[in-house]
Symmetry: C2
Subunit: 316 residues, 2 copies
């Protein structure tokens, strides 16, 4: 049996999938952040190995004939295919290894089309044009210090700002109470909250995002406001790379963009701006990598395989 | 001769002044950041000592009868008067030592009135109500990770964002060229710029602020836009603590708020919002500390001494 392997290494998780020509999944693996640029390399490569080894545990790894890996920020690191290929070989996968950007893989997980726009918003946020399957103009993805507007980090930071503002006005609202509960285990003063946040790495603020999304679902107006502003920032990121009047697909990926609570206002705004564009929400970016690998191995593979493998949510 | 000493310890500089009852200055001292909360304590206390020792070098330090020190963030540190008093004693100044917040001292440098509003915008940004000479409600001052909107840090970060955006669109403007020149010594790619910024402590971004102000003076539209947005953020900080219709003075302090280029749009907006309020720009916060010390030592000291000592710029 011929198989291909697809993998997506994000900031907080690495997911891997093995499929055959018909889009039947023969193995899945999941581990922590496996991007050797975003995290300490030895640690990241170990997570990467764990994800691959779980995915090939029920198959003969020598049957894997193409492996395609989505890894952010590797465009100017020509050594990456060798480094990652060595880890794959240690798991028994000796086939050719291709490394692609996370935007190309996420876009492929949303649509089999060659051209369009992708927005990835998880811990960070970046938008990109995709032209002929390859990344074109991008916007943001500058990291938490300089950008990632509308990302999980940004949402978490805004939640703390809302809490601090309520301290300043002397009227702490429900979102402030949630933030304090999560960060400090209960009521504290303004300066303790500031110190607490500074005691952790800044990116840890992204851990507050689920709490904000949850509060927004429950109708907390402060949380709804943060979520609406995140959607505005993410729309602006798409706007920065996508010409008016475009009718190619727009693909949303990452935990924030694909969440219902941010995704809904975002989809509404995208629909107003580009009414002719199909909108797709990515369910599993690793399936996009597997789809790209499958198309290389079996050039005639049909779009039905894309649907079966990637199952993107059709939202417009 | 009776003398008093005033000092203001900011994030990047400590300034000290010795005056007599008539507002005649008998000594000045200046050193690096001397706030033992904002910087490593041993280092900060040494800068603090250098500023004091320079200020008393031409007088008999035993003639100093009151010392008043403006130091941000010391409100919940009851040990501070003792710690700083010990340094003063090592310079021969054995009088009573009072430690006050930077907002109270900056406000006093702008006006002899007891009530009003102060905005300090230098490396960071904070606004505060002043009631009976003491700090009331405050807003922001949350540090670069969470706030300091409109500060020198904020302006520097916005300049890098403008540069990155111009990389994304493929049309680097003049502000981007200045940022690249200062940070990297010349043309580089987008990812090198991001890496360069992350190699320094985040607050180092404040070092870009003078460049942005200079570019705005020369009419660079991107720099003018950053400066206008900083003024909007600073206005919002004042708005957060100051009721509509107030006619008490508004005092602007710190390198950004007191700069001509940010100050002008800010003063215009403040004048529209509170047309009856006198606006004052602080020239030297340490003189405000000296004025407060003088009023303690000589309760009948006149407002002419405030004018001579503090020389605030009257802008409305």
């Amino acid at each position: 049996m011929s198989l291909v392997l697809g993998l997506d290494a994000g900031g907080t998780s690495t997911r891997c999938l093995v499929t055959d020509e018909r889009g039947v999944v023969h193995g899945r693996g999941r581990a922590g952040g496996g991007n050797p640029i975003a995290r300490p390399p030895a640690e990241a490569l170990e997570q990467f190995r764990l994800a691959v080894s779980a995915a090939v545990s029920d198959v003969d790894p020598s049957q894997v004939e193409v492996a395609l890996l989505g890894v952010a920020g590797t465009g100017d690191r020509p050594e990456m295919p060798d480094v990652l290929g060595a880890v794959l070989r240690s798991c028994g996968v000796g086939c050719p290894v291709l490394v692609r950007g996370d935007a190309e893989v996420a876009f492929a997980a949303g649509t089999p089309e060659p051209d369009g726009t992708v927005l990835i918003a998880g811990t960070g946020a970046v938008s990109a044009q995709v032209v002929g399957g390859r990344e074109g103009r991008t916007h943001d993805g500058w990291g938490w210090l300089l950008g990632d507007d509308g990302s999980g980090f940004w949402i978490g930071r805004e939640a703390v700002r809302v809490a601090l503002r309520s301290f300043d006005t002397g009227e702490p609202g429900p979102l402030a109470a949630r933030v304090l509960e999560l960060l400090t285990g209960g009521a504290v003063g303004r300066s303790e909250l500031v110190l607490r946040v500074h005691a952790d790495p800044p990116v840890a603020l992204a851990a507050l995002a689920p709490l904000v999304l949850e509060a927004a679902v429950e109708g907390d107006p402060e949380a709804v406001d943060v979520v609406e502003r995140a959607a505005d920032r993410l729309l602006a990121a798409v706007d920065a790379v996508r010409p008016p009047g475009e009718s190619t697909p727009v693909v949303l990926a990452g935990g924030i963009a694909s969440s219902v609570v941010v995704g809904e206002p975002l989809v509404a705004r995208l629909g107003e701006r580009w009414p002719a564009a199909p909108l797709r929400v990515v369910v599993s970016a690793e399936a996009g990598a597997a789809w790209l690998a499958a198309r290389l191995r079996w050039p005639d593979v049909g779009e039905d395989v894309h649907r079966r493998l990637c199952q993107p949510r059709v939202v417009a």
